[in-house]
Symmetry: none
Subunit: 229 residues, 2 copies
């Protein structure tokens, strides 16, 4: 496992653990910190504390237990998204109830692990998830896939209208897009990014053109539907 750290000489993946059981928390920390490319930067034993730490550290990956006392893990993930947190979330639980799995994945989690996962495997999942991969435990993978809407699968001809002629957004434009999706006005976006309203408008204009839409509502809907944010 540790060899992988040598392969990628970039800075380690920062991780925050939110888990109420002390022993499990220690176990997770040890298992992950044994990897040179993974660094557990903080731990919390409940969601409120966890959210504070997440806001402070802005980790690459969050290990979130779902069965937390008080605010549960799914609520915490929703709050996390509300505060425009870019961290990838791994839902960690011992349950394999279908509704819980779907609720977690549709509320912000990028991965779903059962707690009996092999520690080394978990490190792999952390790496995968940090790059944006969606990873779902074998025990619940099929039920998740079954929950996807069934699409009439005939008629798939190479319609490359999407990825081809598409102009990519710049980093700054993505930033603006996020705020736009959260419903902010140009004035609010400008205040948020500490630029003038003119700049914000310029970015929005550019976003609309690149996304081939007529107004910010269409841009927001498209961004949400295509998972750009």
């Amino acid at each position: 496992m540790v060899q992988k750290a040598a392969e990628t000489k970039t800075k380690p993946i920062s991780v925050i653990i939110v888990e109420d059981f002390k022993l499990t928390r220690v176990g997770l920390r040890c298992a992950l910190n044994a990897n040179d490319d993974i660094n557990v930067v903080a731990e919390a034993e409940d969601a409120v504390e966890g959210l504070k730490l997440i806001e402070k550290h802005k980790p690459d990956v969050i290990l979130m237990d779902l069965g937390l006392p008080g605010m549960n893990g799914i609520e915490a993930m929703v709050k996390c998204k509300e505060m425009m947190c870019d961290s990838k979330i791994i839902a960690l639980t011992s349950h394999d109830r279908c509704e819980e799995v779907i609720a977690a994945l549709s509320s912000g989690a990028s991965a779903y692990c059962l707690k009996d996962i092999d520690p080394n495997k978990l490190a792999d999942v952390v790496r995968d998830v940090s790059t944006g991969v969606c990873w779902i435990d074998p025990m619940v993978a099929q039920m998740t896939l079954n929950a996807l809407p069934k699409i009439d699968n005939i008629g798939f001809l190479p319609n490359k209208s999407n990825s081809e002629g598409r102009v990519p957004l710049t980093e700054r434009e993505f930033e603006v897009l996020k705020h736009l999706v959260s419903g902010k006005s140009n004035t609010e976006i400008a205040k948020e990014l500490i630029v003038s309203v003119h700049t914000a408008k310029a970015h929005v204009c550019s976003i609309l053109q690149k996304m081939c839409v007529n107004d910010r509502v269409q841009a927001a809907v498209k961004a949400v539907k295509e998972g750009m944010v």
Copy 2:
């Protein structure tokens, strides 16, 4: 990578490749066979041939290109499931169209890889998938998660946005909301519903209040995220 083969001394993971481009096929075979724990047992250049080989070899994992001539990959996966094949399927394509991704995953694929994946990573995915993991490429992960049904209706989110304090939209308002989400202006909505602009505005106003949002962008995003439309 090869060390992993030593770790698991069981028999290698058998793989069948279904891909029309000869060069890609060779590339896949070489990349995978470089791993001691993975064994490419057969290759096909179209779906019909592929299905025959799959029935014959019953491989652990199938690497299925989606853009095949004749019967496409998604149809092939459906047929595969029909013949009670237990093989795990990795959908391999260069497209990132939402419908194609969802169609593939809901038609039998356990993983979705874009073709620019790192060969070593692909071997990892083959290993993961052979154990039943669901693995989705970063480029399309978010879009897939967004396609999952939104579940707020269970006890996971004991908040106000549910049946409790929420005022339900009327039928007409839902109609307006749909047009709103599609990016139409009040004028366009009015034209569509054959009412005056004043009426359309009145409905929109009412929608915003009932949905507890400040503007139509937030309404649209909320509607999409919660699967109201």
